[in-house]
């Protein structure tokens, strides 16, 4: 059984957020909800200044604090390492949102689902078809595009990334591209002090 993980190549990322939009169209996300997005920050002083672009996503932690915090068992980890939320069990208590050190979970409020992407209270045919996967009052987050992955495809954000800054694969396979990159370019996990053992690594 593969253990899925992702590497972000910070040298490649141009902060374009094609990943965020691809995710929105793949997953029919309501307005303002992101399963992934790229942060940017200026670093330095003129003229010795640059801007860093840092993609973020659910880290599908090996020791997922969200899963431990969930009182109903709605958050669970699949055998392949993907951390999921079962909306039928989720009561929207928000404990997982507090527990996640990476700010990657969103509780769906009814108005998010009702106002529509164009904010006029009407849903486009695209939204009408996709919005049914969501239940108001439950918590959502990135699923590593579990259905695509099950079908042998790459997550939508990975597939579209113009610069190939997102590298997805089996972290248990020593020959996989992400494993090689982590080794060659000394991949770092986000907030290692939180002891969550993320399945997402950054290289620069």
């Amino acid at each position: 059984m593969a253990k899925w993980g992702m590497v972000f190549d910070l040298r490649r990322c141009i902060g374009c957020n094609a990943c965020a939009v691809a995710c929105k169209q793949e997953n029919s996300l309501p307005d303002g909800v992101f399963f992934t997005k790229t942060l940017s920050e200026e670093v330095g002083e003129y003229p010795d200044v640059t801007r860093s672009y840092v993609p973020t996503i659910c880290n599908h932690c090996e020791d997922a604090p969200c899963e431990r915090a969930c009182p109903t068992g709605a958050t669970y980890t699949r055998p392949d390492g993907i951390v999921m939320v079962d909306r039928d069990k989720c009561i929207g208590c928000g404990t997982c949102i507090v527990a996640c050190p990476y700010d990657q979970r969103t509780r769906l409020e009814p108005e998010m689902l009702n106002k529509g992407l164009f904010g006029d209270g009407r849903l486009t045919p695209f939204e009408e078809q996709g919005i049914g996967r969501f239940t108001a009052g439950t918590v959502v987050k990135c699923t590593f595009c579990h259905e695509r992955v099950d079908a042998g495809l790459l997550p939508a954000c990975v597939a579209t990334c113009p610069t190939e800054a997102r590298i997805f694969g089996d972290l248990d396979d020593p020959h996989s591209r992400p494993r090689q990159l982590i080794l060659e370019r000394r991949g770092r996990q986000p907030l290692p002090e939180k002891n969550t053992n993320p399945r997402v690594f950054y290289i620069d």
């Binding site: 190549d9 040298r11 490649r12 141009i14 902060g15 374009c16 957020n17 094609a18 965020a20 939009v21 691809a22 929105k24 169209q25 793949e26 997953n27 029919s28 307005d31 303002g32 992101f34 997005k37 942060l39 940017s40 920050e41 200026e42 003129y46 003229p47 200044v49 640059t50 801007r51 860093s52 672009y53 669970y76 079962d86 909306r87 039928d88 069990k89 992407l117 164009f118 904010g119 006029d120 009407r122 486009t124 045919p125 695209f126 009408e128 078809q129 996709g130 996967r133 595009c145 579990h146 259905e147 695509r148 079908a151 495809l153 939508a156 597939a159 579209t160 113009p162 610069t163 190939e164």
Partner: protein, 875 residues
Amino acid sequence: METLTQPVQNSMKPGKWLNSSCKMCIHSCTTRIHVSEDGVINKIEGNPTSPSNNGRLCPKGNAAILRHYDPARFRTPLRRTNPEKGPGVDPKWVPIGWDEALDLVGRELKKTLDEDPRKLMPAINDFQKLFLWAWPAALGNANYLSSVGNFCGGGYHPMNGFIHAAFAAANDVNYCNYWINNGGGDGFSSHLHTAAQANHVAKARVERNMRVVVVEPRLSIGAAKANEWVPIRPATDRQFALGLAHVLVAEKLYDAKFLKKDTNAPYLVGPDGYFVRNGEGKIYVWDAVDKRARLWDDPEIKDFALEGTYTVDGKPCRPAFQKFKDILADCAPEQMEKLTTVPAATTRRIAREFAKAAQIGSFIEIDGRVLPLRPAAYNYYRGAQGHKYSAMANHAFKLVNFLVGAIDTPGGHVGVTLDDQMQDIRGGFGTIQAGENGMLQTMPHQLHPEVPFSWPPNETHLMGFFPIGVDPGHLTQHTLANADKFGLDYRPDTLLMCHSNPLWNLPGDREQWYAMLRDMRFIVAIDILPNESNEWADVILPSHDLLESWNMTMIEPPHHEGMCLRQPATPPLYDTKSEEEIFYEISERLGLLETWNGILNFVNGFHQKPELLLEPTRKYSDREIAERKGKLWNGQDLDWYVEHGHAVTPRRPEKWYRPWEGLRLHFYLEDIVRARDTLRQKMEVADVPFRHEWEWGDYQPLPTAVPDPVHHERADFDLYAITFKDIQINFGESIGNPWINDIVFKDPVHTAVLLNPKAARERRLDEGDIVRIESPYGSIVAKLALSEGVHPDAVCVSNALSRVATQNTGVRHGGGNFNQLLPANLRHTDACSGQPETVAKVKLTKIASVPEAVAAGNSVFGQRSGRIGGKGRAH
């Protein structure tokens, strides 16, 4: 565990995939579109079989679904019922049927054409259906209201036509190791096939350690990813390039062999600026060994002199290279630094690094052909070239590449054709032809044939006065405001727009543009969504969008060629038509059907294959035109394209590298001198009253370091305002699409205008202040954000702030259109190329009360905006 009977992810739902291509910018990345069983388009991805975009799409390409389903789309033909026209004034549309709409449009256009065809201004700007641009030829009228081309590249496109006989240019990512980007986002955020080029450039950066140096006033995406950001004062890019050239020449870091053998640099130039010719018109060079003049093709020449001063047939003369060297004597980096603010040591170091990386003298074998390898190139675009002396600026950047021999070589700076049908089939612009005296035939006209000079001018944009430029659409404002001076014996009163938004795109005073539109007797717009310009229309003819229509194109691919299919993914959502059908219907009503078919045959190249010819009296669908274009490219019918999606392949090396082999390139542009003198003579003969004020100094065969007039504005305008785009808003209208809004307005560089903190302190301004940005020509209002990534002399205005409130409620007001700050006059227009100045000198004034439009809930500034610097998260 939740049990699901149906997949929740859109691409996994039952349905079908269709091959198509994108049109969210002007370029044509290939796509695959997923349509669910109930006919809903629910996912668009890049087509992984294309070697160009490699299955990748930019954020805009990912957002096409929401343009398709945008509730603001025009759903039927519409007729205005509110006689009052103005910005933000509701036209009070009423739906009408197609027959009524087309009859009305036909009747009104006919009336105008019968009076005076020059009174009808077409503004047709669909880049993926370039053949539509030729429709005005059916009217015998070149009086377009052009709002593209000159702004991005009045000097850019003709200069590429002079140097490469091509429309655009790119650095060759396949081999380049040292990539200078000056005022252009190629490979990072904008211009040619952005997702594709970002893909290839990222590989070169990371896998090959290609060094990137970005020269810009603002820390753009490219600058942020570069090995080195060189901040520069706006509108001084040419002086930076001349500083580099100075070092390359002074330190003999140039490719003498290339200059002698493959360019006109050794041709002798006389005091009148023309080459020195014998009685038969053949040009002289100087043989440095035999110390005598010889004709350029004399087989006895032992060595072409690049330097020196000579006398031939009694005329003092110098090789063109020496002429440039003389100019460069005044362009030492230390002198240029006074204008550019780039430290001389930096310029000197970059010049040396660039020359070293160029590996002058090295070769590479590609497909059995031995070619010079020059893996260093200087790329530039709109920001660097968009200045008054644009032709000179463009030429200066090209000359840096010339000096190291990096023109059209592997790893160098390479010409890019607008549409490859031009090169192989059309036989017109973009072809490689032998010119006189061993030189390449220059092709400055890349969009349409030269517009003949006329007096009084038949074109309000004066295109006949810019014989080697691109239509300076902005001058229409100037000529209409000074109709007597320009001898206008007519006044345009009818406007036809097709996917064009001149009120957004054109520089100049908004009120004057509004006045011009108010004076229009009749305006028709072919479009998809409401925008700044089409809210002035009397009739809207709604067209299919990119997911409902057929097309076949490949526009400006930086290093690929071929054809990309566009096909409908669903039947039209609304009562819309294709542009092809609309123009056929209008042409028929004007009695121009046969003429239009004749033009389409020519511009599409169908006359090259008689079986593809359109019959004169038939009307053709978008599908039929697309099928013919596909067949013309590779002989395959539409079924083949539907199955494969595209015929995109890497550009054939013989077309890509030195396609002009055996001809000499134009290091020295005698054509510009000739164009100047020909125009001057025409103006003399016609007794044009303003000929003495015409800026004849703009026509230079070699660039000089003379500062652009924007630097001479009044001293109290103490900052330079520039505008910029990033990849989320690259080309065309993007704001208003919820997914684009969702990423753009969370990015602090797009939610306020950017000023360097030091510059802010000096002016007692601070983060969050509402300021008036005032130029000598107009003003806008904005919220201020402080950014260390800004040159201290610059104010940077995101293009996301330049939309103004329209009938499209998704578009947020950003304080006014940047173009309002720019002049639309001759003084700030390059007489050589038609390029307007795109930088404005401004002053900032803090204002206490926020104007209503800016305070409104729909304004950009009504939204939460992040802080740029510091430790806080930007989102």
